[in-house]
């Protein structure tokens, strides 16, 4: 279970997270909604260990592990995965090579044997098919020249291959048409199970029609201002953040 208590964080001396309290029990999917600039990406970066953020108070543990004390790669090894809002381009680095390196890095953390190039290809092809992507994806350089939708799908492909137990999806639905959105949702739903939890960050209620969350939280001004069931998302859609949070 992911447990965040009184978490405060700043960047360049500016306080962004102002005391986050949040619990995601194992097996549950929680949605975080909130207006632009409310700190959603900041929260996802702090949980996955990006440099540049100063944690000024509180704690975040995952299955009892002190997340904030771990290197990003250790968090990944412990099952934490972040689907980036803006996936990063790696010129010259083949996607297949990158994905296999990542899969083997995570397997190593877990004490599992590495997969060789042939095994990996088989694995990757199966996942690609399920995500209705083209094999071409493997041959190209990581995110270089990818359309917005391809980048997001590449994030979901990585998630499918790395098999995390805690997936943080940062606006993975933004910029997707409805078909792509369904594919992404299928990708997440396929991982659903008693050992998988997820924090789905989104602007739009639309995604939550396909990934039905156990809980919905509203993040505003660096705080969780309201929590509820799936119906809260509909309420937000109809009435706007300001009214619901008031």
């Amino acid at each position: 279970m992911l447990k965040i208590e009184g978490l405060t964080a700043e960047i360049d001396g500016k306080q962004i997270l102002k005391g986050i309290d949040l619990e995601v029990p194992t097996g549950e999917i929680h949605a975080i909604m909130g207006p632009n600039g409310s700190g959603k990406s900041t929260l996802s970066y702090v949980l996955s260990g990006r440099e540049g953020y100063e944690i000024t108070g509180g704690s975040a543990t995952y299955n009892g592990l002190d997340l904030l004390a771990m290197e990003p790669e250790e968090r990944a090894g412990s099952g934490v995965f972040l689907a980036f809002q803006y996936p990063v381009e790696l010129p010259g680095v083949g996607n297949a090579n990158f994905l296999r390196t990542a899969v083997n890095a995570v397997r190593k953390h877990r004490g599992e044997p590495e997969v060789d190039a042939m095994q990996f290809l088989k694995l990757a092809r199966a996942k690609i098919k399920a995500l209705q992507m083209s094999d071409d994806m493997l041959k190209r350089n990581v995110n270089v020249g990818f359309s917005g939708g391809e980048k997001k799908r590449n994030e979901v492909l990585q998630m499918a291959l790395l098999e995390p137990t805690l997936a943080i999806l940062d606006e993975t639905d933004s910029g997707l048409d409805i078909d792509a959105l369904k594919i992404v949702a299928d990708g997440v739903n396929a991982m659903r199970g008693p050992n998988f939890s997820s924090l789905v960050i989104t602007h739009y209620q639309r995604l939550l029609d396909y990934i039905v969350p156990d809980r919905v939280h509203v993040l505003m001004g660096g705080r969780i201002v309201k929590s509820g069931g799936p119906e809260l998302a509909l309420e937000l859609e109809a009435e706007g953040y300001a009214k619901v949070a008031a």
């Binding site: 990006r50 290197e71 790669e73 790696l90 010129p91 680095v93 990158f98 990542a102 890095a105």
Partner: protein
């Protein structure tokens, strides 16, 4: 392969971020007296039982060298070299020349095995013939007989002087004349060994040829000389690798490589240079002052240089092509890494003389720590080289904020119909790229390795397969400790 075949596992197990090829072989050695004078030149020539003409050739070079000044135009700094404070000849003191691999001192073979060089011919898997040069002499060459069946000569240059003097006499110094530059001139006077390759007309060399250079003895300079001749319609791919023990002192390596390609011949020359770079404080390391030049004498001939330069305290090296034959092609693909206090001033010269000659230059410089990396290149097009084309791409990658990257491209175009293009970029490894990789489970160092390999991809893909994999690992290892 060869040059760097220490497996990554072994390397990382030791993981002091250091140089893993730095051991010393304990073997009885024979030295020339320390210092440099005419008698030393005569000593070397006599040791090698050379004909009179070659001794004269050396002495002429020595006389020229005495009148020359050490060049100062390169962007490298080092204390004045005392040329009298070094040995110019060091050889394992086994008197008899081994006739076959079985007669080679097992201690020497073990050295090469430890370095991952396929010394036993049974290791056919690799399909690579190797010439092993230990300090001043070649100690063994594999697959000689097999190659001889195709009329190919692959042996040490000392042997070539004995067995094929007419070829050596015809080509030695024909591409890099004795007085070409200070270090080439010194080499011409005191060169001790190196490889000789001759591919006869129309023959495609059936395996990769490679030379593995090892400096072992203390206070010793290595001056090797390599000569490759590809007759009309022939084809050869040649690889060289190099390492040296870790020592506090600086040692000099001043090599000369000459390539000759006749009509329709192709020579592909690949280097993985991993000389000891010195320690993190900049103490010790090899001074690598090398002159490499190829002459595309024939029409449609092609010479392609690929280099991965990760070692040496100082690298001064400009593998070049003289594009004399019409429609001939020159290529230069380079990766140069400088970490800690390493300095590299490297690049190429492409001389377009023949009509419709083409050249491609792709240079990737990576600077980390306090490393300084300079690309220096000259593209020269003579008035007769109508239709000549050059494309140059120079990219620099900076890791950290104490290193430097410099690009010095000279263009001398005297032909109106020639087309010369130059592109250059400088970038840094971005924080978001590192974080992206780390969030996928890669360590900081794995992430740097991956990004750097991506940056160098266009060059690495030019390397023969066996080399490419090891070169990738070597790049990552060379940058250990450079970030964070």
């Amino acid at each position: 392969m060869a040059a760097v075949a220490e497996t990554l596992e072994t390397v990382q197990a030791a993981n002091d971020g250091g140089y893993k090829w730095g051991f010393e072989t304990d073997i009885a050695m024979e030295f020339a007296p320390k210092g440099l004078n005419e008698d030393i030149v005569r000593f070397i020539s006599a040791k090698k039982n050379e004909p009179e003409w070659l001794l004269e050739w050396r002495l002429k070079a020595y006389a020229m060298w005495l009148k020359m000044e050490e060049p100062e135009w390169a962007a490298v700094k080092y204390p004045k070299i005392d040329y009298q404070d070094a040995y110019y000849y060091a050889a394992p003191s086994n008197k008899t020349v081994p006739k076959s691999l079985d007669e080679v001192d097992p201690e020497l073979l073990r050295t090469y095995e430890k370095l991952g060089i396929p010394v036993q011919e049974q290791q056919r898997l690799q399909g690579i013939a190797v010439d092993m040069v230990f300090d001043s002499v070649s100690v063994a060459t594999t697959f000689k007989d097999r190659l001889a069946k195709e009329g190919i000569i692959f042996c040490s240059i000392s042997e070539a002087v004995q067995n094929h003097p007419e070829l050596v006499k015809q080509y030695l110094g024909s591409v890099v004349p004795q007085g070409d530059n200070y270090f080439a001139c010194l080499n011409s006077a005191v060169f001790t060994d190196g490889s000789f390759v001759f591919i006869p007309k129309g023959v495609r060399c059936p395996m990769e040829l490679s030379t593995y250079f090892r400096i072992n003895a203390k206070s010793t300079g290595q001056f090797e000389r390599t000569l490759i001749i590809a007759e009309a319609g022939s084809h050869v791919s040649y690889l060289e690798g190099c390492t040296a023990p870790m020592r506090d002192e600086n040692q000099m390596h001043a090599a000369v490589v000459e390539l000759v390609a006749m009509d329709d011949a192709t020579i592909k020359y690949s280097t993985v240079q991993n000389w000891y770079p010195g320690d993190a404080e900049g103490k010790g390391g090899i001074y690598n002052f090398v002159t490499k030049r190829g002459a595309c004498r024939g029409a449609r001939s092609k010479i392609s240089w690929t280099q991965v330069e990760t070692g040496s305290a100082i690298t001064w090296k400009y593998p070049s092509c003289m594009l004399l034959g019409d429609d001939s092609v020159g290529e230069f693909y380079s990766v140069a890494i400088t970490n800690n206090h390493q300095q590299a001033d490297t690049g190429t010269k492409m001389w377009h003389v023949g009509k419709n000659t083409r050249s491609t230059i792709v240079s990737k410089g990576i600077s980390a720590g306090q490393g300084q990396n300079t690309y220096r290149g000259l593209v020269k097009v003579s008035p007769k080289a109508t239709g000549a084309r050059n494309f140059t791409q120079c990219d620099s990658l900076l890791i950290g904020d104490q290193c430097g990257a410099h690009t010095v491209p000279y263009i001398e175009n005297r032909c109106a119909t020639a087309k010369v293009e130059h592109e250059a970029t400088t970038s840094r490894i971005a924080e978001d790229q590192l974080f992206y990789c780390r969030s996928r489970g890669l360590t900081q160092e794995e992430a740097v390795g991956l990004i750097v390999n991506g940056f160098c991809r266009e060059v690495l893909k030019e390397l023969p397969m066996e080399f490419a994999v090891e070169a990738q690992k070597l790049l990552a290892i060379s940058l250990e400790g450079s970030v964070g």
